[in-house]
Amino acid sequence: MKQKGKIIIGVILFIILLLTFGYFFVNQSYLLNKYKFNKLQEHTFIEDTLTIVSSSDVQDLKPDAVDFETKMRVYGNLYEGLVRFDKNNNVKPSLAISWGNLDDLTWEYKLRKGVRFHDGSKFSADSVVEVFEQLSGREDSQIPSYLKHIESIEKIDTHKIVIRTEKPDPLLNQKINSLLIAKDDYIGTGPYSFLAFDKKNGLNLKAYEDYWGDLPLYRNVVFKAISSKNSRVVEFGKGEIDILTAVPVDNSVVFDDKIKTVPSLEVSFLLFNQQTELWSDPRVRQISTKVVDKETLSSISGKYSKAVNQFVSPGVFGYSLNIKEKDYLPKKAREEALAIFGQEGKKVILDLTSDYGKIGEYIQKEFKALSIRVELNFISPQDLVQKISNKESEMHILGWQSASGDAGDLLNSLFLENAQLNSVFKPGSEESQRVTNLILETNQELNQKKRLNKLQNIMDILVDEKVVGLPLFEGERIYAVNSRINFEPRTDGMIVLNEIR
């Protein structure tokens, strides 16, 4: 009986085993998927603080800030827009889950449900409308230039809005990307919430555990500014810095294989205010193109930069292959300048930030040959923007990143009449009108080939025909990355913390 009992138990166990195996085998793909799905739901934060250092500090963290340093800190981290650019510059859903044209002038956006701000309040269509209305009414905000053609944003229901444009706007999504939805006191919907911010300790962020999307890897992040190059090098060497955005070019060798670069799509250029007497003369503008030696410029701007011949870098949609390199003809230029000015010469103030110190000195030196005495006026980026907006800058060096990979950004921001940063043309002038009309035409052109031609045409006009300024160089963005961090730089220069995996 004992033996029989053992056999019976054995048979029962065998049947159970067989059924269990059968169940798992038949349902293996479901079970595997379920396991993977459950695994994905689990999340473990890395408790070490991620430290990101740049050279410049920021004054505030407004969501509508346009300066690069601020945007780098907040974009996709603290604040989010309706859409976002992924690292390949594809437009992806963010706070909006889908969008579509109801007609040529009307876009419908369906908003994501279940999103909460860092203070726990719900995100809804009201949030979007509020932000738009706030920014539209502010004179000091840069955002309005992007949103100029948006007539209205209307709430349809709690999670649906409709955007109406004055004219058909194929670039609307790119513009909307800049409209970051936030509340006062640095409250956004991003994967990180605000902890603290001061000059000494930088910006401290903490992972927002109720974030609607994938939780980030690091629980704590700090963005710091270290102005001293040497300090940046030393700190990185000690392992105190995980990502260094402002790698001192001279010391880049020190960082060995930890350097990562990406085309910045940023071009630095000199712009002439044609409302001043000096630069209103097209002859003066033309001869200025002959005194900039590209080779010297490249060597001054550094290992990771190279001279450019237009206001957008190769890689940007709208880059014109028609524009030729200008020859360096300082003697000829001097002769022509003498003919225009005589011996007296002219004086002009060049407004620039401290980053362009060496370039400014070079310009100063070369323009001297034209009997143009250039006085370098180093100011802060904010002051520079202010001065430009007030049309008070005679000449300035500006850096512009075509983050979207489209020249339309630059053209709309700097050369469209009434654009805040447009201090090139005299408002109402024929040139201004002409360029503005061309830009507006381009904005509405849906055929990509035709649009490209138009953009290139505008670039040709600005660079060759009107010589609104001198394109100087484009730079690569250089990062030094701690080997334990899996970080791939983006062409737009943003550090989206959720992309660090």
Binding site: F14, P263, L265, G315, Y319, S320, Q448
Partner: protein, 518 residues
Amino acid sequence: MRSVKTQFIVAISLLIITILSVNAFFIIQGKKTELNYDIYQNAESFAELTAERVINNYELNYLSKSFVNFDRELGNIKALNEDISEIQITNYQGEVLYSPEGVEELKLDQELQDRIQANLPSVKTLKTDRVLFLDKLADGETKFVDINGKLVMSLLESEQIENIVYPFEDNQHTIIYGASYENLVHRIEQTTLSIIILTTFGVIIGIFVAMILSATITGPLKVLTEGVKVFAKGDLTKRINVKSKNEVGTLSKTFNQMAVEIEKSTQELVEKERMQQELSLASDIQKDLLPKKMPEYDGIDIFASVEPAEEVGGDCYDFIPLSDDRMIMYVGDVTGHGVPSGIVSAISNALIEGFSDLYKDLKALTVKLNHVLKKKTRSNIFITMVLCIWDSTKKKFTYVSAGHEQIMIYSAKTKEVTLANPGGLALGMLPDISNVVKQEEIALKKGDTLLIYSDGIPEAWQTDKEMYGMERFQESLKRHGELESAELIHDAIIKDVRDFMGSYKQMDDITLMVVKGT
């Protein structure tokens, strides 16, 4: 010693592993072939569907150095098919217009040039380096041809391709799509893993089955073995309690039957031995009852013997001295033989010994003996007897016969053998035989010989049909009557009888008393 269990487990595990390995091989090969062909077909369709988009992207973005847009668009195109490793663009002359970083430079040989400049897309196989041009028919089927449009052996399902060269319809550009089989490797690995898991489970189940199966055999065998050991040690009552319906159960049943038989036989053997011992003891007792030595009386020479047919016999004789010159001698034969007869024989022996003091007269003694035997023995037990008295002073031999064999007389003078008068009735038949008992006398002269015997001698068998008989007996006495002593005569006659019997079984007790006159 390798147990049945281990052998089962090893055998079944090996069997499962072999079967599953063979299966796995064929499944994996099949899967590989299927995936290979899927990758080719997907690549072909992909090339067809995306060629225009690739060229448009090239013309719009790459040529205008909008590499951001170009990379994005190309990335989006490639994302549609993860089996395409890279996309390169050439012009009609074969000059590379676009090639991604890190990709090996195209070697523009004649073969590649032909492919780039052809009208049809083409594939090149990896291992065999075959170039096949793809002619799409109206019904969607693809015909494999050479550069001249001649039919060639189609792409085998097992063949992998290196690339698809897709000449674009504008006759200015060609796109080269590189094929990647990384996914195939990954999926084969997944399939292999599934098979390994399946095999592991299979082996576990197999081991389980083997253990259960072997348990059904080894379990009962173990019980059987243990039982046999106990049985062998002497516990003959041990039985195997195995109820399985297979050969082991049959073996156990057979064993139990055998055990029953052995136990029974052993018991019988023990009983027989015990019986044998008792018989031997009884035989010894009976032998002790016989006279230890032949009596010596004047005028006669006596020798006697009894040879029972079994351990204990029914024949008896004795010599009972009455005085210095008188002696009773008798020969008795109880019906049958064996222990019952021996018991009666012993009783008779004791009675005669006892009554010889009380009854000096042979007749009275016989009557009394009969009376007691009738009372004390079963109704079917009788004893024939000849009681004799020898008076050595009177030289007188008297006898009483109670239904016994006639005394055989050899006359030394005449050399003839005669039989004495018969008479009487066997003892124990009737309560009173006083009317039939008769005392007789024989004149025993010097040299005469008397034989008093039991019927075992004349009824000694040689074969199933021939007995010794009285004639031979008398002849034997005639021949040997002249021998010097009673013992010699006795031995000679017994020898005659034994010689006659040969190897035939002695059926009755043989008793012979020889009385020779001296």
